[in-house]
């Protein structure tokens, strides 16, 4: 059977179970779009290609499937770079299809030509330029395979216009075989025996879980392990939801804006079991001082994550789900004695840290941003709610004051820290989960970085809710200036902003505003229960800071507190 490149692309989309695309057409992909229109694949027309990639990212995280984004050559392709880099840092499985100028023009500085494969080499798991129509089907299947297997990540496929139009024989798919790509899923059992021994001997163990637990869908195994061995759990920002926020063993988030008890625990523990993390500098602070008293076990599917930043006692390369499954079986067979008795002192110490230094803020005349998140949590805790965030203070307050019970319900640009991520990611999540309540927690700065996606949300009837914590500042940078730059507020004031209520209305959405603490709940109720797309503008205290805070490069236990 002879098919065109565009038809082969659609065939592979169907083979791979792709039912939704986020994209933006252009000259180099017009043949692909022409073919797409003949399929029943749903296409969400974003308003900027960056938004398209973030939406695919949000879709992937909310659905557990590979997110797909389709854009044209040149500027269409370069606009995807931030989204790709964010997905790469957070190991999110997405496939980005870019159009390219016809093969005979490549290298000639043709109209809308850019070497996107060259540009995205360092920020993709892998990428391809298709130069021969006969390679197209294989490359596309490899792209999906690579994106979702091992440590997931973004894969880009650059398809020249003439390849989309050329024809080739199409064969049914066979299993993808890549001799140079063999992720290690099964851990070394010998290493696991050593881990179990450490668990048995530890007096003050703790678990530090990350995004890898969520990506490998091993939150149930993690919870079982922690409860069985009675080990308190902290997570990175990316790991929020990997362990129930209501569990007594929950320590809160670790790191620069982590809880007092989580950060203090790392310096007091004698065994740190790190699972699916990469020890980002925002988590470790000064690396020499991080968990300096402790033996460290590090479980991760990517060997490069192990011993990259932190020396470890026992490295375990393997899939988190498989590894935790083995650990649970091994622990089962073990006599851990009276765990209540053994852990009492350690858990009492942690409880004391919690009661002396809980997450806290002071109420005032003006709306406190933390109060908005607390109310948001109260009003949505019984509904299936997905929280996305922008980046900065809004992201940290959402991480601190919203409590996540399940994985896949907190979607944030963790590694790259992309302002403008939350709204398009919410659109992607809402597309994947039409029955969920999807809320983007935003700041007045970041929301303006991809505000144009409001039109996308309204066009497709996606009822995402945007909660703007509006402090008229680039708040996180302002906070750094206040704390470390002697209050010199260089270029962080955003006095002039659009009227977000009118802006929402201009987009055909609902706009609401609260200016006093007593208005917060009513606005949230009205906004969250609306069937439409809504922006809620909360005029919050302008100079509120996120606490605790560990100054960059300081030991994680040296926190500035409220």
């Amino acid at each position: 059977m002879k098919l065109t490149g565009a038809q082969i692309l659609m065939k592979v989309f169907q083979e791979e179970g792709v039912d939704t695309l986020f994209g933006y057409p252009g000259g180099a992909v017009v043949d692909i779009y022409d073919e797409l229109a003949r399929t029943d694949i749903r296409h969400i027309l974003v308003r900027h290609e960056q938004g398209g990639v973030h939406a695919a990212d949000g879709y992937a995280r909310a659905s557990g499937k590979v997110g797909v984004c389709l854009v044209t050559s040149g500027p269409g392709a370069t606009n995807t770079v931030t989204g790709i880099a964010s997905a790469y840092m957070d190991s999110i499985p997405i496939v980005v299809i870019t159009g390219q100028v016809p093969t005979h023009l490549i290298g000639n500085d043709a109209f809308q030509e850019v070497d996107i494969v060259g540009i995205t080499r360092p920020c993709t798991k892998h990428n391809y330029l298709v130069k021969n129509i006969d390679d197209l089907a294989r490359i596309l299947r490899e792209a999906f395979f690579l994106a979702r297997s091992g440590r997931p990540g973004p894969v880009l496929v650059d398809i020249p216009k003439d390849i989309a139009r050329a024809t080739a024989g199409y064969k049914s798919p066979k299993a993808v075989k890549m001799p140079s790509y063999n992720p290690t899923y099964n851990p070394n059992m010998h290493q696991l025996q050593k881990v179990v021994k450490l668990v048995q001997d530890a007096r003050r163990p703790m678990i530090f879980a990350g995004g890898g637990v969520i990506l490998s869908k091993s939150a149930p195994e993690l919870t079982e392990f922690a409860r069985k061995a009675k080990i308190p759990v902290t997570t990175s920002l990316m790991g929020l939801g990997a362990f129930p926020g209501s569990d007594p063993l929950w320590l809160g988030m670790l790191g620069m804006h982590g809880t007092y008890r989580a950060n203090m625990s790392t310096s007091a523990c004698d065994l740190l079991i790190a699972i699916g993390v990469r020890f980002d500098d925002r988590v470790t602070g000064k690396t020499d001082a991080f968990a300096a008293q402790s033996k460290i076990v590090h479980i991760d599917i990517d060997p490069t994550s192990i011993r990259k930043n932190i020396p470890v006692t026992i490295p375990v390369v393997g899939d988190c789900k498989i590894t935790l499954g083995h650990l649970n079986r091994l622990i089962e067979a073990l006599d851990l004695g009276d765990l209540d008795d053994r852990r009492r002192e350690w858990l009492d110490t942690i409880a004391a840290w919690k009661s002396t230094q809980p997450l806290a803020y002071q109420q005032g005349e003006t709306i406190k941003p933390q109060f908005v998140i607390e109310k948001l949590y109260e009003l949505t805790r019984d509904r299936e709610t997905i929280i996305t965030t922008e980046v900065g203070q809004n992201q940290m307050w959402a991480a601190q004051y919203y409590h996540f019970e399940k994985p896949g319900h907190f979607i944030t640009s963790g590694g790259l820290g992309v302002m403008g991520f939350g709204l398009p990611a919410a659109i992607g999540a809402q597309t994947a989960c039409p029955d969920s309540l999807v809320v983007d927690v935003a700041g007045d700065g970041s929301i303006q970085m991809n505000i144009q996606e409001m039109a996308t949300a309204v066009q497709y009837g996606l009822p995402v809710k945007v909660v703007i914590l509006n402090n008229r500042y680039l708040g996180m940078v302002r906070q750094w200036q206040e704390l470390f730059y002697e209050c010199r507020y260089a270029c962080t004031s955003m006095e002039h902003a659009p009227d977000f209520v009118k802006l929402a209305e201009a987009y055909g959405a609902v706009g609401l505003r609260a200016e006093k603490p007593e208005e917060v709940e009513a606005v949230l109720r009205e906004g969250l229960f609306s069937p439409r797309t809504v922006i809620m503008d909360f005029k919050v205290q302008q100079t509120e800071c996120v606490y605790p805070m560990v100054p960059a490069g300081a030991p994680i236990t040296e926190m500035l507190l409220v």
Binding site: R121, L129, M178, S180, Y181, P303, T304, R307, K308
Partner: protein
């Protein structure tokens, strides 16, 4: 921790962009490349790349892991610390004044090199050996005036058990 030279030997898919991925990895992550050699093997579609990098032990460990992670890399071997042979070739264009010609040829003879190009004013010498030998001949020829030099960088293979 001390930084030392490590010889890495990679088998890679012979595809466009593979070298760029490797070089990009080194520059992007701040690793050093002391020398780099690429050529096809006898197996179609597979090339061997020999890289010499200067790094301390944990960094070399990280370099090897990062290289292994690249999709087009089939195998990463570290030769340093094991039994292996290494060779480098240099072409040295040395000023050859009449009064120095005999001495240059003596050096060529002692080092078992070849003169591959001769002119009124120069000899071009081809020399092959390990880095010590190359350094030695270069230091002997330097006072006579080296006009230009081109080196291949190291290539290396494991020794087989005898």
């Amino acid at each position: 921790m001390t930084e030392e030279n490590h010889v890495l030997s990679l088998l890679v898919d012979n595809e466009p962009g593979v070298l760029s991925r490797i070089v990009g990895l080194f520059s992007g992550r701040g690793f050093n490349i002391e020398s780099l050699c690429v050529a096809e093997t006898t197996e179609p579609g597979i090339s061997r790349i020999t890289i010499v990098t200067k790094a301390n032990a944990p960094v070399v460990e990280q370099i090897k892991k990062q290289l292994n992670k690249l999709i087009n890399i089939l195998k990463v071997y570290e030769l340093t610390g094991q039994d292996f042979v290494q060779r480098e070739m240099a072409l040295i264009k040395v000023t050859a004044k009449p009064e120095h010609r005999a001495e240059i040829l003596r050096i060529v003879d002692i080092f078992r090199c070849k003169v591959v190009d001769v002119g009124q004013e120069h000899y071009t010498i081809e020399v092959t050996g390990d880095q010590g030998k190359l350094a030695a001949i270069i230091s002997l020829l330097k006072p006579l005036g080296i006009k230009e030099i081109a080196k291949t960088g190291i290539i290396a293979l494991f020794r087989e058990p005898k």
